[in-house]
Subunit: 340 residues, 4 copies
């Protein structure tokens, strides 16, 4: 940690700060520039976590040199983390292709979707039983009944399942039925929920918050890991920007940055960013060539007969197209050896 002092700082003010830092057991290193003095702080900075150094009047800024996350950092864990859920591996060149509908609606619906995504090559099944809807008047999900359907269909097709949890009160229930737990973008800094899923044994797909920096995202992973659950999969799903031609700006550049900073697997969700089918395939490919270890794609039925004539019947075809492109692209960047 480097403390940059304001030009006018007096020697006794510097002394005060140095004493405070050394009292908690850290060492300091003073460097006087022509205009400004800086204090380097050496040792375990968590000892200073509750000292508001930036708010001291003579301090201009505080620069953090070492990273605030430890368990998630590649510095202390150079090799990629590989996670294996009932044979579906992610990391080390293995890809996860997670597919399924946005919401679980019925056993029939789940079976139909599972069948075609499994045949096309998906290795995990997703479906929402608890839905984070912007409006309280929208369908909020089937709850436990949905979880049971998901589990049943997952077993039927030999696919591990992924589903979202939104409330600490539901974590135990979700962990009972699902193989992988998802934390959505709106709960990316719901620290109570992060701690709770950290107490389960289920791998956690952690979506990035809509306006979360990469460092904050890794700190959210650290919340889960610090409770003992080390199997966190980071899921880039787009960030919020000024652009309104689509729903979110898919941040593929975050992927190589993450790959450098953390050993955790990274996947991409091209569906929520793009919002429209035409953009999903190119964005999935962009994620993979950027270094992602998997994709999470919505493969949903249209709820309305009249419309499904056009749109729905095409959907399995589009999913097949995605899988065939993935199988061609992934090997170029050394990935996907596990795709059937």
């Amino acid at each position: 940690m480097i403390i940059v002092l304001k030009p006018s700082t007096e020697p006794e003010q510097i002394q005060h700060i140095v004493e405070m830092i050394e009292k908690v057991g850290l060492r300091t290193h003073i460097s006087a520039g022509e205009l400004q003095t800086i204090i380097g702080v050496i040792g375990d900075k968590t000892k200073l976590a509750n000292y508001p150094i930036a708010s001291i009047s003579c301090v201009e800024s505080v620069v953090h040199v070492s990273k605030p996350y430890k368990l998630a950092s590649r510095d202390f864990h150079p090799d990629d983390t590989i996670i294996d859920v009932n044979g579906a591996k992610i990391g080390g060149g293995n890809l996860w292709v997670i597919a399924g509908p946005c919401s679980i609606e019925s056993e029939d619906q789940m079976r139909t979707v599972a069948k075609f995504v499994k045949e096309a090559g998906a290795n995990l099944l997703r479906g929402g039983a608890y839905k984070p809807r912007t409006s309280p008047y929208s369908f909020q999900g089937m709850g436990e009944e949905g979880l049971k359907i998901l589990q049943k269909i997952g077993k039927e097709f030999g696919m591990p399942t992924v589903t979202e949890v939104m409330d600490t009160a539901d974590v135990e229930l979700v962990a009972k039925y699902a193989d992988v737990i998802q934390i959505g973008t709106r709960n990316a800094q719901n620290f109570a929920l992060l701690k709770q899923v950290g107490k389960t044994k289920r791998p956690v797909v952690l979506k990035r918050g809509m306006a979360q920096t990469i460092e904050e995202w890794l700190m959210s992973a650290e919340y889960v890991m610090s409770e003992g659950n080390l199997d966190v999969i980071l899921c880039e799903r787009g960030i919020r920007t000024f652009e309104n031609a689509y729903r979110n700006t898919l941040d593929v550049l975050a992927i190589p940055v993450l790959k450098e900073r953390t050993h955790l697997p990274v996947i991409i969700d091209p569906s929520h960013a793009s919002g429209v089918w035409q953009y999903v395939i190119p964005m999935a490919l962009a994620g993979i060539v950027s270094g992602a270890d998997g994709v999470m794609v919505e493969a949903h039925h249209d709820p309305e007969k009249a419309m499904s004539d056009g749109a729905q019947s095409l959907k399995p075809k589009k999913f097949n197209l995605l899988m065939s492109e993935l199988r061609k692209i992934a090997p170029v960047v050394g990935k996907g050896k596990n795709l059937s």
Copy 2:
């Protein structure tokens, strides 16, 4: 709702969409432009909430005309909502000045702070017992013990209390000890939590999400209100932008926009946006002249003796200065008649 179709849309595709809409009991109105056709939809659009009209291949965009929030909307409740908590009124020209430390640390600390903020004119006392910290290694708050201290000191000084809740499991406990419940920026779309506080009888200070649009924010208020709790106070605390000279961009323009769209009281938190003391007073004033019904300000002690010589002794002075400026500015915009 207006559905804009792509230039190439065929008559039978238009017919399909019209039939689907009319089947759920809504009326349509077709308007053929030179290049593109638009379909106006008339009636209660919540009936279409689960129909993914925007994903139909011939649909270019969907424009929502009527607002998705009802209970929060001024259209259906033209008069300002006035909330009275043990005599501390907000709305209708009355201001709330909520002050106190970031975290509750001890009874002594709370008493010292409460004393000086009360004397200066604050009418509510804040203090955090559950702290949303970016790092799992930082102090997470005193929990129930902190709630007890806050309640005790609040009663001692005759100040209603405000404190944050982060977990659905803690809502009942917090509602038992505190007079007003706060939802923090990271939980602004934690829908499970919003519903839970909606079931209490306590007024809710709802902070805006870091990247939440005004409309989404009002939808979060709607979540609370739809459970029966109509006493929501919206708190602007800064949004996340590219600027890094301060922590968050305080969106004062949101205040007149809110005042037009909703009858709910609006307050401003100048502390979290600015990050430094020098900016807090001008930002508090900016909020009030923009139309806010109150301010929430951190008045914290420095934890370290050596430093408090300089910084801490000034803090009550600064808070006095804030109050004296508020008393001069507020009447110009017709506010603050209740400030002692």
Copy 3:
């Protein structure tokens, strides 16, 4: 400047960097932490301007301690700059109220507007002769003819004039007719134009770029000042964010930040951010209580008779209301002694 090295950096790599820095005449200061080494650089860093230190493979990051702007910095010029244009002063408690239409349309239009804004208390007259329009098919302004009208009406009412220049080729012409030159948000980093207006003797109103950081904005001011023209007035007009309830997010928090970092006057343009009349007055007041030295407001006629019945006749009233509120608010923060 502080150079933070990656954990794995070898001693000979550190030596290389140190030698490179010392060769251009700067001093270094090495501080070895537990995990990472940092190099402090002491002396005039502009000597390193063309050395891509951040791109050296063992460098993790480069932190700039001293500010890159000099002429604009308050460090070297502690007192507020006061600019006087034909008696209209800005800075040191004096306010500029610049008012007028968006575009100059005719002599009659300018005279009508100038009359009512002057009577209400505006001290400078604005009007656009060159218009930056998003579409090439929109009206691009009257050009030199418009400049002549502006000059004539300005003299008639004893009001200094402000107008925008968009092309280096027009700078001389604009400087001939107008008293103050404006640089628009889209040209905030048009460095050729900044240099050109820096060669004139006219004060320059420099609008902030839509996505310009405060530091970059001060560097744009530095471009003008480095050519010899020290009379720069910074104009906050809103930044681009995700929010779409209005046009731009007015960054009033930028004002106290600027006041701390620079001695230059700062004004606020509430019209372009809010986009609608109802929001202009509260935003103008918010700017003033935040520390701004003036406002720039659009006072335009509606071009269409039928509409002007309602809207237009109200506009002088609204401008009068703005001025009366300003006269009440400004003295509270020690400003506006020069407002008639």
Copy 4:
């Protein structure tokens, strides 16, 4: 165009607006909802360009249905534009690989770089003679002397050249020496400059503004095209967001959006967004699989001997690696048949 009226609008206000619209020769279509009325406007909306409809007090919002750009729109030009500069084709499956240093420093430097990028397979040579630097104290480029060097080396290696212009006064000179003219991100809405390059016969690489929406970007292209120069190549280079782990957020999702809306070629600049070499290759690949028609990459020398030992000697190797990956990835998405 759709005009959404406020709930309280009176019939005579509606009549006023309708009359105004019909007077300029457009047709209207009124649709009365339960709460709000909307007016559809049919015909050429440029006739309304100077009518501030959104500012009429009873208007809630104005929704534009048809796109404001015409020449750039795929609606009126369904086939991809193919541009051929001395045999280097872009569009229709052909890729441009533009490579070279950030700044032109000397003939030797340009020859060295041109040699290795040409051998690796680049088909155009870039180099800056006029540099947009944030600081006026940084090197501003060699000017005409640099242009001469670029032209000479381009001819020597049979590579068409690309260079940036920043001032309308330099357009003629740049067009004389260079084969392709570049407009930088800071001048993306410098409308005077866009018009001026629109008058030349040189293809224009138009970088996206840092905070420019896709629609505004296409309007900037329209500025160039409306002057008669139809050869515009759009270059995505990253947008400004809250993330600070890299310089800019590369918006690859913009590529399929552009491909749908416009017939113009699109390229990607991975260097300016990522800022570091490790990220350039994955981002270039992500651009290509997203549908881009080329890449623009910086291949620069380190200016300092001591450092070049490590970094510089690797750079041709890294560029070779980029080219070899491109040759493997591009054919999968049907591109790059022209790469040697």
